[in-house]
């Protein structure tokens, strides 16, 4: 029965997401995910070929969550500044709630296992598209002048990444998930940076 099967597949994804978001890839075991659902461990392998691909599927869900939510916010924004702020806060909220799912993207602690990396359409690439979207909107409304939209988006995103890294480093907290206060501080600085940055692109 495909319907029931899909339902179980989704159950597994949800349970795995909870575990991965809370404990990360390494500290989550297949046995634990199975126990949470009262499934047998072997059943997980009926729906997913291995742990890494299960993780990759969860990761992709989380990425989609970021992309979908930010896209909507960008779409309904009045101007570039509003779009940018909405993008930043929405994105950081999703990251905060699923921090350990992004342990390989937004923390420098560990490197992504190669077989996961191969499967994933890079989150970074998608984020560049999101920021490019904002910039293009600004160009269309004559708010901004940007010669190379994608490169500019990339520069801004890398700078924003540095904001997270730099601040977590400052707090000597590069190994624990950031606290709410740290996230707020990061968001504050990210907004300030993007404000200056956008200003630097104004027509």
């Amino acid at each position: 029965m495909a319907k029931n099967a899909d339902a179980k597949r989704i159950k597994i994804l949800e349970a795995a997401k909870r575990r991965f978001a809370h404990y990360g890839l390494a500290k989550t075991t297949m046995a634990e995910i199975a126990q949470d659902l009262s499934f047998s461990k072997a059943l997980l392998y009926y729906y997913f070929p291995d742990k890494n691909r299960l993780y990759a599927a969860v990761f992709e869900m989380a990425v989609d969550e970021i992309i979908n939510e930010t896209t909507e916010k960008i779409r309904t924004s009045k101007d570039v500044t509003e779009a940018m702020e909405a993008f930043l806060s929405t994105r950081l909220t999703v990251i905060k709630e699923n921090f350990n799912i992004f342990e390989f993207s937004y923390s420098l602690r560990n490197e992504m296992p190669v077989d996961i990396e191969a499967v994933l359409p890079s989150l970074f690439e998608k984020e560049i598209q999101q920021v490019s979207l904002i910039l293009k909107k600004g160009v269309e409304t004559k708010e901004l002048v940007v010669d190379d939209v994608e490169l500019t988006a990339k520069i801004l995103l890398i700078s924003l990444l540095g904001m997270r890294i730099g601040i977590l480093q400052e707090f000597k907290n590069l190994f624990l998930p950031p606290t709410k206060e740290e996230f707020d501080y990061i968001l504050g600085l990210q907004k300030k940076l993007s404000h200056i940055f956008i200003n630097g692109l104004r027509a």
Copy 2:
């Protein structure tokens, strides 16, 4: 004889700098530094209380090198853009030549040993002062409008840090010293970022 003593102290600092710059703190041994100079290991401990303080002294030299050279470049610059570009390229050149001395400042690999950290007037703080200098110059010449100079300098510096981290991550090269090409790429992006950033502060 204090003069001879000072001369030997400097010899030790130079030999230590070569080792640290090439192999980093952990992979440099006191015995190796002594061998390079045909001194006994114990002599090093006559001039420096321990390995960490020797490293700290070398680190401070390297920091002074950055600060002195960039200060001079900033002083003789015509405008903010020129000052900023001179600051960035001079700074990155010194970092490139002494990369492993800055392994705790500019790479996220390892954290600074606490007793070293305590001794050091943070490089980051000094860099903030340098960028603040540039911004103040811009404010004085009416080129820029900046409300909180230090915070703005901090934001820019953190962004520039992200540029290094982000790019080294992209090259999956977070553990090796960057190549010349990578440094050039980093410098290019840093210049683009600071250009937009400075533009965003213009009066």
